[in-house]
């Protein structure tokens, strides 16, 4: 069985600039820890997290933009950082409910695992609480609750049970990339940028867009449609 991939949704604007434009994707293809709001930095300070780059495990969240990137997970186990079975920002801001969440710092500490061990912990978590990995990826609720009552708490939504990785390094956009889903106009803009690049610089991108790892949503589709398409594709791998 394939592993559930790490997913990052990009394209959101910070300080009136998009985090990832077609030009930047092609000319400077890096995912940067600097691409975050002051609110996220505040959460990092409050919870004692390092300066992190965030990935959800198996969830393409439409609230972060219209570019969905899915990565194989294995490389993350040798990176600095940690992982939690919930969204840390949601926990700090009071959107994650359960016994003990009123003290988010200690709740985070008691649930956070190292990146070296997170893959085994995540696999056990899905086996214990969900009907299948596919059900987890498609956002279904857990079948059994966790000890703090978080998974089945009626006030909680998906980000309360989705695993989040906090990786304390930047990441090359194309490294370990397994799937890229975008809207049609963005695909067109990426292709236009690529045509201007010399062969050696464009080679990896050309390989990607010529493969089934590159998916384009129909013209006129809104952001949730792109994310939904990505999760449908991911669920077929599992």
């Amino acid at each position: 069985m394939n592993q559930v991939p790490l997913v990052r949704t990009e394209g959101k604007a910070f300080a009136d600039q998009a985090t990832l434009t077609p030009e930047r994707m092609v000319r400077d293809p890096r995912l940067l820890r600097a691409s975050k709001t002051d609110g996220t930095r505040e959460v990092e300070r409050a919870l004692g997290l390092g300066d992190s780059l965030y990935f959800y495990v198996g969830h393409a969240c439409p609230e972060f933009g219209q570019i969905v990137l899915a990565y194989t997970p294995e490389w993350s186990t040798s990176e600095p950082g940690g992982a939690t079975p919930f969204d840390t920002g949601g926990l700090q801001l009071g959107y994650v409910q359960g016994n003990g969440t009123d003290d988010p710092v200690s709740y985070c500490i008691s649930h956070r695992v190292t990146l070296a061990s997170w893959l085994d912990d995540f696999t056990a978590y899905v086996e214990r609480h969900f009907s299948s990995p596919g059900a987890y990826v498609l956002g279904e609720r857990a079948q059994t609750d966790d000890i703090s009552g978080r998974l089945l708490h009626p006030s909680n939504s998906r980000r309360a049970w989705t695993w989040e990785l906090q990786i304390e390094s930047d990441h090359q956009l194309l490294a370990n990339l397994k799937l890229l889903c975008v809207q049609s106009e963005l695909a067109e803009a990426i292709r236009r940028e690529l045509r201007m690049l010399p062969d050696d610089e464009a080679a990896a991108w050309i390989d990607l867009i010529s493969s089934s790892d590159f998916r384009v949503a129909p013209a006129g589709a809104e952001a949730p449609a792109v994310c939904g398409m990505a999760e449908e594709v991911i669920s077929t791998w599992l």
Partner: protein, 252 residues
């Protein structure tokens, strides 16, 4: 379960995502109904949207770049889309093929020209623009283009691709790629990468047709090569045969 979320009057107040620089695109609208409640998705769907936003949440989403709010608002129509075009797409420069702005309205808030029309209407506008661009590229290629004119042809063909979303405007997309590949050949830029890229849109047979037609078009662009004006040396088997040619009309 009967769901009665569907509102009677729905207004379009913006579109999903951020406009892309130098691009044109059809994008999904952001709706308001009733006043002060906002959502995206299909207002005709039996299933309500995942979330409704109030004005402050809408502004937060706009600030974060999830959506773009427009100055103008429209009454919602079935299968309506927002069609936007960046000014660098419509009027890239003096040496480019500029498109008429008359069908769109400038929107300072969104930073683009736009309109709200049915999907079919938006596709028709895009097709018209794409045809203009392809014709301009072909006109340029049918002469003896210099470097600047080849840049113009390539720019027009690439912009035409934005007007030809697959699968709706497949034949226009084919024509745009023929012009683009021909431009590559004329300026001695290897087109192989372009043919590889086309696999995203077409099957092998269509790509091979594009290749043939692009090569023919490129040959046409160089149909009248410079002639050497000086007579060459005599051939090995004797004196060069000289033939005097006169116009038939003049002889008559």
């Amino acid at each position: 379960m009967a769901i009665t979320w569907r509102p009677v009057e729905v207004t379009v107040v913006g579109f999903c995502g951020l406009p892309i620089s130098a691009a044109a695109a059809m994008v999904a609208p952001v709706f308001e109904s009733p006043i002060g409640r906002y959502f995206v998705g299909d207002p005709d769907s039996l299933v309500p949207p995942r979330c409704f936003l109030d004005r402050s949440e809408l502004e937060q989403q706009r600030h974060a770049g999830y959506l773009t709010l427009t100055e103008r608002q429209w009454a919602r129509m079935p299968s309506g889309v927002v069609l936007y075009a960046h000014s660098k797409f419509m009027i890239p420069g003096a040496n480019s093929c500029n498109l008429p702005l008359s069908e769109l309205t400038p929107d300072t808030a969104a930073g683009v020209h736009l309109t709200y029309v049915t999907r079919a209407h938006a596709l028709a506008i895009l097709h018209r623009w794409g045809t203009l661009l392809v014709e301009d590229a072909n006109r340029t290629l049918s002469g003896r283009p210099n470097v600047m004119e080849l840049d113009r042809a390539m720019d027009a063909a690439q912009r035409a691709l934005f007007c030809a979303p697959p699968p709706e405007h497949k034949s226009l997309r084919v024509e745009a790629f023929i012009s683009l590949a021909a431009s590559y050949i004329v300026c001695r830029r290897p087109p192989e990468r372009l043919y590889r890229e086309m696999k995203l849109d077409f099957d092998e047979l269509t790509i091979s047709v594009i290749r043939q037609r692009a090569e023919a078009k490129a040959a046409g662009a160089r149909a009248y090569p410079f002639m050497k004006s000086r007579i060459g040396a005599d051939p090995a088997d004797g004196k060069r045969l000289c033939v005097t040619v006169s116009r038939a009309a003049a002889a008559a």
